[in-house]
Symmetry: C2
Subunit: 339 residues, 2 copies
């Protein structure tokens, strides 16, 4: 049973999900230690333990094998923040206490049967499968018109808020457009209205011209650390051609996306010794997929520092590493071939 | 040398302060262990080590004692995010790379000569001195018209981002109004325009009427956990009478403020076993101190959970504890007299 409440002081909806208190915590052994047989026996994401999860939503299976084997598997989150069964009608108590049911969806994409292989250590074909599955779930959830926003993300490491170590992504569908996303979209729309250009396309062009913060490019994507990065080593992956949402990426471009994502994560893994990080996929709001105002992108957000009182009191970030220095370190500092 | 850069995608200015990488880290011994003689010798905030800090800005001294003794002491932060010497002119590289000097101020208020006495363990008179000093520094910094916003905050515990254990507050003056504060003020202004009432005063009245989330009240203040709290056990302290900014609190009301702050922190200390927390003071923007749109307030933000990918990708919070349950636990769950 979850609920959403409207914060009049900020304009945000807050998700209340008391059930999530009950979710299990990450194993306490160091992340680098190999999983024991006992770990594999108790991990709900490991092969053989499929009955420990809610019923499967989707899977990618190896060709010609039985239904028991899978390469990528999607299940409902057992401790969901939002649920499809809840009611999305707004209700009111008194004058200012506005709430609604915690209507939405919360799914888990298990990256592979392997309990301890990190995303950057997977073959590029497997990363492509994960992205294909994320896109397929994204587009399927968009069919439910109660969902206004679909947030695709990944948490790696306890400092990034992960509670189960077996590598996985998550998708949460929300019944409102989050205010932060609305506001970013307004920035981009205002820029388009004023200049006639997509803000993100212009930013990418300026970054390519400056050539100080670029990590990699390939036929379809560029990876760079933005001029005004909020976090040290924050890295964006952006399509070179304007595309408003992740749901639009042509199947033929997914291998290039998988390749650049793998390379970026591998460079961060090597340079920063397997840092905790979050990964998010930012997209245009529902209904604006055909407009030229926005460019969907991946943000990789290493969690190297702790948010403190200044950030919580002002909403501003203090970044102790200039992105051009971080980019130089990542490009030249160490070899990216060894894992 | 610090710098600010404008993020066109969000509308935020980001502070770049590479020097802050060099600041010392908190002692690694558990927070509950008593300080050793060696700790006191090396702590720049302990009496006798005044020469280890930049020159003192202000102090409260015991009556009739020499200049070497102090009860509360203010110094410049040795690793400042922003500095008074920097230039606040906007500059531009290319079309989209806007920046300015890291112009501002960054001060530290040392709470007491005692290395290990927590704020909630101080006598109420000492907390009043700290608040009086914070207010005095706030009003003094407001004299510099380059500073658009003054953020007063405290970090307690490593999970809240503190780097030195000796209890202290910090003040950062910024050359721009942070976008988050601008946006909150707009919410309050819009509410005032629509209803003719101060949003915060109305929220307080509704909370008092509901009486489900109130922690304490006294003659001048109320402490409660807001209906749409973003974090578990988030607690606000709000004046009962409309006051736009902390700078306006009459001296005669500071003892009541010190008293309610002490009681709130003590209840959290007991109920949650000395949790890490941030404390922030939220105020109306410069120039709007005479308007009735806003109510300054203290937010106490326990750091019980980790922000993860959903929060970073959407800006929305998932709170696993309903504020009425948290308030009941804090009010009735345990005695608040023991420390």
């Amino acid at each position: 049973m979850s609920e959403m409440r409207y914060d009049h002081t900020t304009g945000d909806w807050v998700v209340f999900a008391p059930l999530r208190k009950l979710r299990p915590h990450a194993e306490t052994s160091p992340a680098s230690s190999p999983p024991t047989e006992q770990t594999r026996m108790s991990c709900p994401f490991c092969p053989g333990n499929e009955s420990m999860t809610p019923p499967e939503i989707a899977a990618i299976r190896p060709d010609g094998r039985g239904d028991s084997e899978w390469l990528v598997r999607v299940i409902p989150n057992k401790f969901p923040a939002l649920r499809i069964e809840e009611d999305d009608r707004r209700r009111q108590q008194g004058r200012l206490f506005q709430h609604m049911g915690g209507c939405g969806a919360h799914e888990v994409i298990i990256e592979s049967p392997d309990h301890s292989l990190l995303l950057c250590q997977q073959p590029v074909e497997q990363i492509e499968r994960i992205l294909r599955m994320a896109q397929s779930r994204f587009n399927d959830l968009m069919q439910d018109h109660r969902f206004q926003s679909i947030i695709v993300f990944k948490n790696h490491g306890e400092g990034a808020g992960t509670s189960l170590r077996h590598p996985h992504w998550q998708i949460i569908a929300t019944p409102v457009v989050p205010r932060m996303l609305r506001q970013r979209y307004e920035q981009a729309t205002e820029h388009f209205d004023r200049t006639g250009n997509c803000l993100y396309c212009e930013l990418v062009n300026e970054e390519l011209a400056a050539d100080e913060r670029i990590i990699l490019t390939n036929a379809h994507y560029v990876a760079f650390m933005p001029y005004a990065s909020h976090l040290p080593f924050e890295t964006w992956i952006v399509p070179l051609r304007q595309q408003a949402t992740f749901g639009q990426v042509p199947a033929g471009e997914l291998p290039a996306l998988a390749g650049i994502l793998r390379e970026v994560l591998l460079k961060l893994y090597v340079a920063l010794d397997n840092p905790d990080f979050n990964l998010t996929i930012d997209v245009a709001p529902r209904g604006d997929e055909d407009k030229e105002y926005y460019q969907w992108h991946i943000r990789v957000l290493p969690r190297l520092s702790t948010t403190a009182g200044f950030e919580m009191g002002s909403g501003m970030s203090i970044n102790t590493v200039l992105p051009e220095e971080a980019a130089r370190f990542l490009r030249n500092g160490r070899s990216s071939t060894g894992t």
